[in-house]
Symmetry: C2
DNA sequence: CAGAGTTTGTGCTATTTTTCACAAAGTATA
DNA sequence: TATACTTTGTGAAAAATAGCACAAACTCTG
């Protein structure tokens, strides 16, 4: 165990290990080596060990990691014993897909509120959640203890939606709009830029050797 | 201009610069400094200049970059003069959202085919595209010159879908299923793991200082 | 056109992240 | 219990990425 701050890529990979460990325990596989875990996650054995090394010593020389023990340890480290409430803003194609996805809840991320500006949509119920007007955001965020906001509105209104989320006291934001948002230091902002991912692939087509 | 290989994060950012330059030219802003471009994209001025430096010298000391000139140069570098054909496999919530998104076409990424395994869906038409059976993939990929495949099927069938795409001669893959896929070296694979993005945010909630 | 002010391009430095590589600690076998 | 494996944990090296800082190049102003 060391005390250095943990790089974000490490955190991100821990979720991948955890996901795999959940599968392994379901399959009743009791131990796994860093090498095998690496194969299953497309990462190197050294990477697996180094990542875990940020949080302690979980393995046994010669045999590897106890899958259940490591799973429990990672759940603890990653806060998987807790659940978090999430709001989605912009219930269009993407927002609707997010609302419909059961995988978030399975991972302790409960979408408990949905907001949109369209008169046609407000009041409609999707997957048990009533779409609300933006005006109700501050009240709802407080009442429902929402800590994460997802932005899936068009780019040109994304900044104002971000500001509204922040003034409503959401802690962190996941943004799908293809635009750079400005948020205060303390707010953790993650961007998912789908066009950019696809475009990057197209670059390799255009510049193939 | 230097000859070193271009890091992928650089490529990715060039698309962000380009997007901004398109806005700037629309707004009839003729020149922009690296500093200002950095502010607009949440990047440092040095980063902007370094990134551009991989491809040449585009700026003018004392005044900055000609927006239109740089836009044209980036379009050339990034292959934006060409268009690419894309197939989506798995027309569920997410696949449907991707099909409906007009932004891809605007960026030269044409979704020209959709595949699903569900009898209920095959034959149905979404946004002008008829959903086909997986069996038709090899023929369609060839006929429609599809070079990128998007995987939006459940994780447990994602590998077989990837294999099918590859044997159908798709060049690169964008994968939304939360699982590590194995693909040949020459295939560029990008993963978008939405749960992981959200979970990473929840980590910072669980471990806030 | 001289002097003040801007901004680029880039070598160098710093930081972050990954990989290497091996002693130490365990397991398995007989 | 000895011997041959296997696998961990981790410093130290390497690679990848980002940031600094400044001479050189250009603009602007009076
Ligand atoms: N759908 C995709 O596959 C895709 C791909 C890449 C990027 N994106 C990005 O994701 C975002 C959402 O995409 P989408 O396809 O779901 O768009 P969409 O048009 O289907 O949905 C946008 C929704 O936001 C709502 N909205 C508009 N202004 C609002 C406001 N001020 N407050 C609250 N709600 C508001 C609209 O009523 C609509 O329901 C966009 O920024 C888009 O660029 C989407
Ligand atoms: N929707 C989300 O917000 C979200 C979030 C995170 C991750 N994901 C991931 O994205 C993927 C798609 O999610 P979704 O919500 O669209 O799921 P979905 O269930 O709505 O759609 C999946 C589609 O794939 C089709 N399918 C199943 N097996 C197939 C096969 N062998 N060949 C072709 N098509 C097949 C199904 O018929 C269905 O239409 C999943 O891997 C999911 O884990 C989705």
């Amino acid at each position: 165990m060391n005390n250095k701050k943990v790089p974000e890529p490490v955190i991100s990979r821990l979720f991948v290990y955890l996901r795999e460990l959940i599968e392994l325990t379901k399959m009743n596989i009791r131990t796994i080596s860093s090498g095998e875990l690496g194969v299953r996650t497309n990462l190197s054995d050294a990477q697996v060990r180094k990542d875990l090394g940020y949080f302690g010593q979980f393995g046994v020389s010669g045999s590897g990691y106890d899958t259940n023990e490591l799973k429990v340890a990672l759940e603890e480290i990653l806060g998987k014993d807790k659940t978090w409430n999430v709001a989605v803003v912009g219930i269009g194609h993407l927002g609707g897909a997010l609302l419909a996805y059961p995988g978030f809840k399975e991972r302790g991320l409960n979408i408990v509120a949905a907001f949109d500006s369209s008169k046609r949509k407000i009041g409609k119920k999707i997957k048990g959640i009533i779409i609300q007007s933006i005006d109700e955001m501050p009240k709802t965020v407080t009442n429902k203890k929402i800590s994460i906001g997802i932005i899936s509105v068009p780019a040109k209104v994304a900044q104002e939606v971000a500001d509204k989320l922040i003034s409503s006291r959401v802690k962190h934001i996941l943004n799908f709009a293809p635009i750079a948002l400005n948020v205060p230091e303390k707010i953790k902002l993650k961007n998912v830029d789908l066009s950019r991912e696809l475009e990057t692939l197209s670059y390799f087509l255009a510049n193939k050797k």
